[in-house]
Symmetry: C2
Subunit: 506 residues, 2 copies
């Protein structure tokens, strides 16, 4: 029975009645929470007195100890003043805030820095995964069956069980074991020589890029990018406030003639993303000479350097430059898994302290477990054996894709960039540019996920735009049969567009 | 025998003679590399012709195919022009760069952004690990024996074996499973209610802080910090160009009277770092009212909120504020391991899209394996059981430390901040401030790693500086015996300083 002197404890009783997740909150905190709500709602205004603990315990059917504990909690938080023998009182000076609803909170606008505002203004060109039951040619995904699950599990287990004497933060530049293993790997696999102290282990090449841009470019400064360009790199530069200098790409990679002075250039010389050309030796020399002349840094993103099919390797820019102005960016996102978040930078010696400090500030260091596992696998040779295995598999996928495209489209499609990497660009030479969205939609309606090349071009530069629709076709996540079926469906869908038929669904 | 017409292939032969790591580089690339060096050194100037492949093969004792392959490689890289029937020629227009030495490269100064320069100018107050054979009271380290090795291994193994259909980038905000598990955990453990879409999983609280400051503060804008303050937070703010507004700390936490308007405040209300006070309810209300008035965000770093000993929990600022202006920062660095790099933010709903975009830009997402493992452990209850276990162990360590300090120093030491967390501050009230460095040196000489409190104070603000030397004593990595021995040695070392004896070594 409720005690007539006091406002009714509706909310306490209703809260007690609501089923709570097991062990979610104790009775004490549910009671103190309900009283707090009532104080906030003005049921007990400042200066009002609450029931005695005995009376409230009787009303609620709980022990007096429970109520006393709730009152003590409220007193500790400043909601009540308790005096020996007197009923507890809401302090006269208590500033009572009306309860805040989720709607109130959502109406409060975000107050962002210039960086935050630039980030919010980025064009939304992130490719959502398509609903593609037949085949999804999304670039960047890998087949789960290629992941060396047992090998990785063994290496991770060994790392967990290799217990150190105490747990502490690791080296911001990365574990010495991994950096030493990477030094050897880069020399063997890419002919790149460096000291371990030039290596900074990062959470994938995305973090490597972000650290480069934070450390090397101020808002308003110019940065050279390829056009078309890897979207996430452009996003990093735009969010940093860079003034973009996009340069067209041809069969020899990015055009390097008459480059204006800039703070940095972001390039993918081993396999241009997305067009797939390999930067020629003379363009490489030009780019490095430009960097030396204007004091720019060149970020060399070797995102898929492990995958070459019919071509001889060309030395990295980092090697040609002798580590003066080139920052080399490598990753295991294309050889192990993008979800591992492991990559590495090779920086000029003079920059190593700055990158180390920036990595420490950004997140102290890359997680220890993944670093230890990768170091073991590289040092024992298992990583390179794995890379050879997935390179062979991806070579087979590539052959299946090229065969299927030739069989289904004949000369209706021009394929570029197939010499290396895990994707090609297919140009649909029988269609004008303005049909690109229609082709993509028709393919998706037929259950095939395809991704247009247009969003990767700089929206501001009119020259060098393609004449025909192009699709970036990533094949690393598909098996040969899916590739064949996907291309077959794609061909049917595109034939439908040519014939003016409405897209069929799935 | 060397062919007289050509400069001698010294470096080729010496390279061939140098033992190479197994499979390090093929013979072809060693030969082409050596020729490239000779071109760079001017042995073959632009326009010069190289030996025929037959002649060079004979000289080197290798097959002609090998030399032909090396020549083709050099031609592909632009170092040679090959014409049918003629000896290969160094292109007349080749720009020859003298080889770059490591010393040349190191002499090139770093060209940094304003952020990079501020980072380089940060005061070096990072505490190097002491050589402390008796006991290292370094704050932040945990005992390896507290790490739930088998539990973590099982969870990680399950995550590795739970193979998805394809490998792709994860959700930038964190896996839905982990965010949902954290929502329940935060409610149960901290009384904090939020939607999973307010949670952003980050690589430890360091990255959380860095993202906050990047998104919310522009260079030159004011930021309120506690004085003394967690050094890494101050570093993030200084590197971002913040104008610091340090506020003294007393027994009720940071002083909140007459706070000037600012963009944000960074506080540790549950257990002030380093002094250990718990922010009172009225100060909490004042701080939140200030934030609402001036439109500031409050970053609530709950770095050790799991560890409370004799005190009732006080609701988080986030709860009191109703998620309007508070960003809550949590971590598993104090419950599992600092090397895991796992933390989480709870942000106001209006900020969630900005944090998601910033995390995506910074490193796409936190590694998948750790996220899955932690989600499983929280959802199954194992994480909370583990937290209770380590809380009990740390309670025992704390008791051992307080007992030892009381026994050895009696009223020569005043201990603060012992109600919560994993460290205390011990003030040596018999010494003047200027003896701090001497106490630290004497302790280290006696094999005890101790860390002074002074570097955590704002160097610019003269008021509120301590009168006596203080040491931050972290105890989470030590067992009871080490703690007792460490305090005993510390007492002997400090007695030596008082008596004017030179420090004894180890």
């Amino acid at each position: 029975m409720l005690n007539g002197q006091f406002p009714p404890f509706r909310s306490v009783q209703s809260m007690l009645a609501i089923p709570q997740p097991d062990g979610a909150r104790t009775l004490v905190s549910r009671i103190s929470g309900a009283i707090k709500d009532q104080i906030a709602e003005g049921v007990y205004p400042p200066g009002a007195r609450l029931p005695s603990s005995r009376a409230l315990a009787a009303d609620l059917g709980v022990s007096r100890t429970t109520v006393t504990a709730a009152y003590e909690q409220l007193a500790a938080e400043g909601y009540l003043e308790a005096r020996q023998g007197a009923r507890p009182q809401v302090p006269k000076g208590l500033k009572v805030e009306p309860p805040v609803t989720r709607r109130d909170v959502e109406a409060i606008p975000a107050r962002l820095s210039a960086f935050g505002r630039r980030l919010a203004d980025l064009p939304r060109q992130h490719r959502p995964a398509a609903d593609a039951p037949v085949a999804d040619f999304r670039y960047g995904d890998l087949a789960a069956s290629d992941f060396p699950m047992l090998m990785w599990k063994r290496a991770v287990d060994a790392a967990i069980l290799r217990r150190p004497s105490r747990l502490q933060y690791g080296d911001p530049s990365g574990s010495p074991e991994l950096r030493s293993a990477l030094q050897g790997y880069l020399w063997r696999a890419r002919g790149l020589r460096c000291d371990p102290d030039q290596i900074v282990v990062v959470n994938g090449s995305q973090q490597g890029l972000d650290l480069c841009v934070r450390l090397l470019l101020d808002p308003g400064e110019p940065a050279v990018i390829e056009d078309p360009c890897y979207a996430a790199a452009r996003d990093v530069l735009l969010a940093a406030g860079a003034r973009l200098v996009p340069r067209a790409v041809d069969r020899e990679g990015m055009l390097t003639e008459r480059l204006p002075p800039a703070r940095l250039a972001y390039v993918t010389p081993s396999h241009q993303f997305p067009l797939g050309s390999v930067m020629s030796a003379s363009r490489r020399q030009d780019l490095l000479a430009w960097a030396r002349t204007c004091g720019a840094y060149v970020i060399e993103d070797d995102y898929d350097g492990e995958y070459r099919y019919d071509v001889a390797p060309i030395p990295t820019l980092q090697t040609l430059d002798g580590a003066r102005n080139v920052i080399y960016l490598g990753t295991v996102s294309k050889t192990l898994s993008p979800a591992l978040r492991l990559g590495y930078l090779v920086v000029p010696p003079a920059l190593a302290p700055a990158f180390r400090a920036a990595k420490r500030l950004a997140d102290r260091h890359t997680p220890g477990l993944e670093q230890e596992a990768l170091a073991d696998l590289i040092a024992g040779g298992a990583y390179e054996r794995h890379v050879r295995r997935v390179r062979r598999r991806n070579g087979e996928r590539r052959a299946a894709l090229l065969t299927a495209l030739r069989a289904r489209f004949r000369d209706g499609v021009r394929v570029v960039g197939a010499e290396a990497g895990l994707h090609v660009v297919a140009w649909f030479t029988r269609f004008p540019m303005d049909r690109e969205a229609m082709l993509v939609a028709a393919a998706r309606a037929a259950g095939v996920g395809v991704y247009p090349v247009t969003p990767l071009y700089d929206p501001a530069s009119a020259s060098g735009r393609p004449d025909h629709p192009g699709l970036v076709l990533g094949y690393a996540s598909l098996d040969g049969r899916d590739i064949a079926r996907g291309v077959e469906r794609l061909a049917a869908a595109i034939e439908g567009v040519a014939a003016g038929r409405p897209p069929r669904t799935g």
